[in-house]
């Protein structure tokens, strides 16, 4: 087990990512290989879940694309993940926001977190 932990640690090179949690709207820049060329493609959506830990840690982003709900699960330590930006902090109570799948329109909206302003 110790050996496996060490091995996994050597692959966990992503320390450049900002901290984010469920409810936050996140823009993930993903590396797409097309015709031998590599480019970055953005996928912006609400983080509905953070799962697993260590090397296998991943998160799921949900967005409504052309009227269709799309979810994408991305490995946090994947080399295919170019960069990450948090565009909006959400105020939610649950760790998993799968209830959003059954909500449409205004009900699927997430309140913005009001961060304490420095006095």
């Amino acid at each position: 087990m110790k050996l496996i932990n060490e091995l996994e640690k050597t692959q966990m090179t992503r320390t450049d990512l900002p901290s984010f949690g469920p409810g936050d709207t996140v823009k993930a820049w993903l590396k797409v290989i097309e015709g031998g060329k590599e480019r970055l493609q953005a996928f912006e959506g609400v983080c509905v879940a953070r799962k697993n830990s260590g090397l296998k840690e991943c998160f799921t982003l949900r967005k409504i694309s052309n009227g269709v709900g799309v979810e994408r699960t991305i490995l946090l330590h994947s080399p295919r993940l170019g960069s990450l930006e948090v565009t909006r902090r959400g105020d939610v109570r649950q760790a998993r926001l799968f209830y959003l799948r059954d909500k449409v329109g205004k009900k699927a909206k997430i309140k913005e977190k009001r961060l304490p302003t420095k006095a």
């Binding site: 087990m1 050996l3 496996i4 091995l7 996994e8 692959q11 090397l55 296998k56 490995l75």
Partner: protein
């Protein structure tokens, strides 16, 4: 001879050069020490006896310890550390390995195909559905034969044929998985990462050797 003894550590995943996940089994292999060279003239066959895993002297009996001490009257033979496992690998007559030689993981390289042998996990006494992949009976509609083995054969021979598949002990037998791909070799830590699963529980002795079948590239 391209074979090594090792210990199954467990499974994990690594990213390949395309950034995709590859499931791998980690095997801590070697360093193994050649304990004995079997020769056709003396033993009737050509093989190399290889030892693996250091062990306290207390845990070996006298005949076992004797394998690692120099032969009486032959001071040239090297004194070897006490080892837990001894296994033999068949080799050609031309093989130059001798007592005291070390076998390390470096002889394997990423991308190459290997066969892995180990004693599989013991499953205990199991029914025919698990042991022989029988279909079982209907689960409802008044059926009373859910997981039963059903008929043992016809009535004419008035006996059950030898070899008819029945419930019984499952697992804990030697299994060889052929044609597995080596993903990575870590010479420093004596690790081999093999794509996919290999037989046996963690910490079990495994034998990794070059694939006997070339197969599809």
């Amino acid at each position: 001879m391209k074979a090594i003894l090792g210990k199954k550590i467990g499974m994990t995943q690594v990213f390949d050069e395309n950034g995709l996940i590859v499931p791998v089994t980690v095997v801590e292999a070697g360093p193994c020490i050649v304990v004995r060279r079997r020769t056709k003239s003396k033993d009737g066959y050509e093989a190399v006896q290889v030892g693996y895993a250091l062990i306290r002297e207390k845990l070996l009996n006298k005949p076992e310890k004797g394998q690692f001490r120099p032969k009486k009257g032959d001071a040239n033979q090297p004194n070897l550390p006490n080892l837990r496992y001894l296994r033999e690998f068949r080799v050609d007559e031309s093989n130059t390995l001798k007592r005291g030689d070390e076998i390390r993981v470096e002889m394997f390289e990423a991308g190459e195909k290997v066969d892995v042998t180990a004693i599989s996990k013991g499953k205990g006494f199991q029914g025919t559905m698990k042991r022989h992949r029988f279909g079982g009976g209907p689960r409802s509609h008044g059926s009373m034969t859910h997981r039963q083995p059903c008929s043992g054969g016809g009535t004419d021979p008035a006996r059950v044929f030898v070899g008819t598949r029945k419930p019984g002990h499952m697992g804990d037998v030697q299994v060889t998985q052929l044609g597995l791909r080596v993903v990575k070799v870590d010479a420093e830590k004596n690790l081999i990462l093999i794509r996919g699963a290999i037989p046996g529980p963690n910490n079990r002795l495994v034998t990794v050797r070059a694939a006997v079948k070339s197969g599809k590239k």
